[in-house]
């Protein structure tokens, strides 16, 4: 039973991660891509917790805690950028965002 819990959790995390990747590849909108990244981040968190439980160690849990905090910071900065981009282009598609390409 017990190790199956770990595997089930890992599978769930893999599914969430793949969904996040899919969203990143399919959605042509910064905001929704950002949403997908959150999904992937959560998948990673889930992995950490699964192993933390398996080893009965709080380290993984603390990592998840840090991860959530950083996700909050990231969301704040990222959404700030989204707002900024929207103000510049009145649009959140990718087409205007090729300034980094030489």
């Amino acid at each position: 039973m017990k190790v199956e819990l770990l595997y089930a959790t890992l599978t769930l995390a893999a599914g969430l991660f793949s969904l996040g990747l899919l969203g990143l590849l399919l959605r042509r909108n910064i905001l929704l891509a950002f949403l997908s990244i959150e999904l992937m981040l959560n998948a990673a968190n889930l992995n950490f917790l699964a192993f933390s439980r398996y080893h009965n160690e709080p380290t993984g849990a603390i990592f998840v805690l840090f991860g959530i905090c950083l996700a909050a910071v990231e969301a704040v900065i990222g959404l700030g950028l989204v707002v900024r981009v929207f103000r510049m282009h009145q649009d959140l598609g990718y087409t205007n965002l090729s300034a980094l390409r030489w």
Binding site: L25, L26, Y94, L97, S98, A99, R101
Partner: protein, 631 residues
């Protein structure tokens, strides 16, 4: 006591070369002191000769002079060691003795020359290289001397390098020699691979498989044909006349060309063990002798005639060596050194006096310059083989050896013998022609020639005396014992046993030799002694195109150019094209193209579209995980 002096005898010429060369280079003020350089150089070689002479007089057993370890790569241990046995000591005596006389002569000949410091430095270096060559106890050391001789000949033939023809002649000599050198190098390496030693004394005791012996002997013989100007590598020698005349004398008499004969005599054990190679040596020698003798009859340049006569005489030597009569070959080297040095120095004296090399513009010179004339006559008689001059004895010994081999059932040697008889006739003929046209009759040239200074005539007199007398060291069995053969060279050379000739046949051979020589000279006298140049012109007209061919030296050079040079040029052109278009220009362009294409491809990947980058990331990440997990 004498043994302690020997390193000095070998080292002095090198020291002399260094002192003279660097002295002339660093103190240009000294260069005007022309006699200084010549005197020092002559003194050095003379001192060296004196030490060798002392060694010779006190000789009891072979001596070794160990300098230092040269190359030590265990288990190969190569010492700089010189072996003084009867053969090498004899050669060293010839080299330094004749060399000293040529040095002395050069003082007078080069008196007007501004760059004589350079000349004498190279002359000394030449002597040193030749000494290393003959005294070496191992093949690599011999090779060192061999290369040194080649390099010095290059320097000296190209002494007047400001004229392109001279520089070309020097290059030709050097390159022709290189071809032979390759043979020596390969033969040497093969020997080492076979036996594990370079030491000639140790090689002597080794019994070679027949094929190996033949292969090595052929390679060594290739080297000998290069250095000693035999077919097919002889064409450099006539061109080597571009150098100052004493240099020609040095190359032809004392050093350089004798190296090939010496090599065969030194490696006698190897050549003896392979009869096929010996036959080839004899054949090549005979063919060369005939070819060069024919060409010599139709030349007008006094030095060219002498050059071809050298090639022809070298052919005699190789014919003897090929009959297994190595001692006879060395004997001829010895006598030839005297009369050929004499002839060349005499021709130098003539050129010095008349300022031309064309015998058509000479004539009657014996009355104007009697010492040169009379000594030149001695040289002519000696090379023609008139008894009792030296050339007679050595040439007769060669013919006797070939006849002996022939009479023992080896028919080919009979043919060689007959051919060489013809060449002996030719020799007497062309030498008679040269001498009569040059020294007898009326003077046909311009200006007023004069006898050369004493410093030039003294060597002529000494060599003239030598040319008369040295033959007595090798008397034929009919008359006495050959001291050189029976008491001296026998100690270091082992000839295969030749069939003995009866006294009758020996006597007949002697008489034939005399008749042939006299006939040659007589024919020359009939034509050129009585009628001088007009007879020569008539002869040319009668011979017609054959004369043209011989005068053009059979167009061998042209042939070589067609066969070897043209394809070489084609290859070189092709290589140049390959280099410039494919490698030189193409390769950088290819590299540029690769990067340009790759750059364009990667540029296309940078679409500036976010999902594309995510795609790259996803694919690459997946590949990485797969790699780590499964591979």
């Amino acid at each position: 006591m004498v043994a302690q002096l020997l390193p000095l005898a070998i080292g002095l010429p090198l020291l002399g070369a260094g002192v003279l060369g660097l002295g002339g280079l660093w103190f240009p003020g000294l260069r005007s002191q022309r006699n200084l350089f010549g005197t020092v150089a002559t003194g050095i070689v003379l001192a060296s000769f004196a030490i060798f002479l002392l060694t010779f007089l006190n000789y009891t057993a072979p001596l070794q002079v160990q300098a230092w370890d040269w190359i030590v790569i265990e288990p190969m241990r190569l010492s700089l060691r010189f072996e003084i046995d009867t053969l090498s000591l004899w050669m060293a005596l010839v080299v330094t003795g004749i060399g000293a006389l040529i040095h002395l002569y050069s003082i007078g000949y080069m008196a007007e020359e501004a760059g004589s410091w350079r000349y004498f430095a190279f002359l000394n270096l030449f002597i040193f290289s030749m000494l290393v060559l003959v005294l070496a106890d191992s093949l690599p050391l011999l090779f060192l001397g061999w290369e040194g001789v080649g390099a010095c000949s290059y320097f000296l033939i190209g002494y007047w390098f400001s004229e392109e023809a001279n520089a070309r002649a020097a290059q030709k000599a050097f390159i022709m020699n290189r071809i032979g050198d390759l043979g020596l190098l390969m033969g040497m390496i093969w020997l080492y691979a076979e036996t594990g030693t370079f030491d000639i004394a140790l090689l002597k005791g080794y019994i070679f498989p027949a094929d190996t012996a033949t292969g090595i002997a052929l390679l060594l013989f290739l080297a000998a044909t290069g250095k000693s100007a035999q077919i097919p590598l002889y064409t450099w020698l006539p061109d080597a006349m571009a150098g100052p005349t004493p240099v020609s004398a040095l190359i032809h008499a004392a050093t350089m060309v004798t190296a090939g004969v010496y090599l065969v005599a030194r490696m006698d054990f190897l050549f003896t063990s392979t009869p096929e190679t010996l036959l080839l040596v004899s054949g090549i020698g005979t063919a060369t002798a005939l070819l060069a003798g024919l060409i010599a009859t139709r030349q007008y340049d006094i030095k060219k005639i002498l050059a071809y006569s050298t090639v022809s005489q070298l052919g005699f030597m190789f014919a003897a060596a090929g009959a297994g009569a190595y001692m006879t070959a060395i004997f001829h080297v010895f006598t030839h050194a005297f009369f050929k040095a004499l002839l060349f120095l005499g021709s130098g004296s003539v050129i010095h006096a008349t300022g031309t090399q064309d015998i058509r513009e000479m004539g009657g010179l014996r009355r104007i310059m009697p010492i040169t004339g009379w000594t030149f006559w001695i040289g002519t008689l000696a090379i023609a083989g008139i008894p009792p001059l030296s050339g007679f004895f050595s040439k007769d010994e060669i013919l006797a050896a070939l006849y002996a081999r022939g009479s023992a059932g080896e028919t080919l040697y009979f043919i060689f013998w007959a051919t060489l008889l013809l060449v002996a006739f030719l020799t007497a003929f062309y030498m008679g022609r040269l001498t009569w046209l040059t020294f007898e009759g009326e003077y046909r040239g311009k200006g007023t020639p004069h006898e050369s200074p004493t410093v030039m005539t003294l060597p002529l007199i000494i060599l003239g005396v030598g040319s008369v007398l040295v033959g007595l060291l090798g008397l034929p069995p009919l008359i006495g014992t050959s001291w050189l053969r029976e008491h001296w060279l026998i100690q270091s050379i082992k000839e295969p046993s030749l069939p003995l000739l009866s006294h009758t046949s020996e006597a007949v051979l002697l008489i034939i030799s005399v008749i042939i020589a006299t006939a040659g000279l007589g024919a020359a006298w009939l034509l050129f002694g009585r009628e001088s140049l007009s007879a020569d012109e008539r002869l040319s007209n009668q011979l017609g195109s054959f004369h043209e061919l011989l005068n053009a030296q059979l167009r061998i050079d042209r042939l070589y150019e067609k066969i070897f040079l043209q394809p070489y040029y084609v290859i070189a052109d092709f290589a140049k094209d390959v280099w410039t278009t494919w490698i030189g220009r193409g390769a950088p362009q290819l590299i540029a193209m690769v990067f340009e294409t790759a750059g364009r491809l990667f540029t296309r990947m940078q679409v500036g579209y976010l999902p594309a980058y995510v795609l790259y990331l996803a694919v690459a990440g997946l590949l990485m995980i797969v790699w780590v997990l499964w591979l």
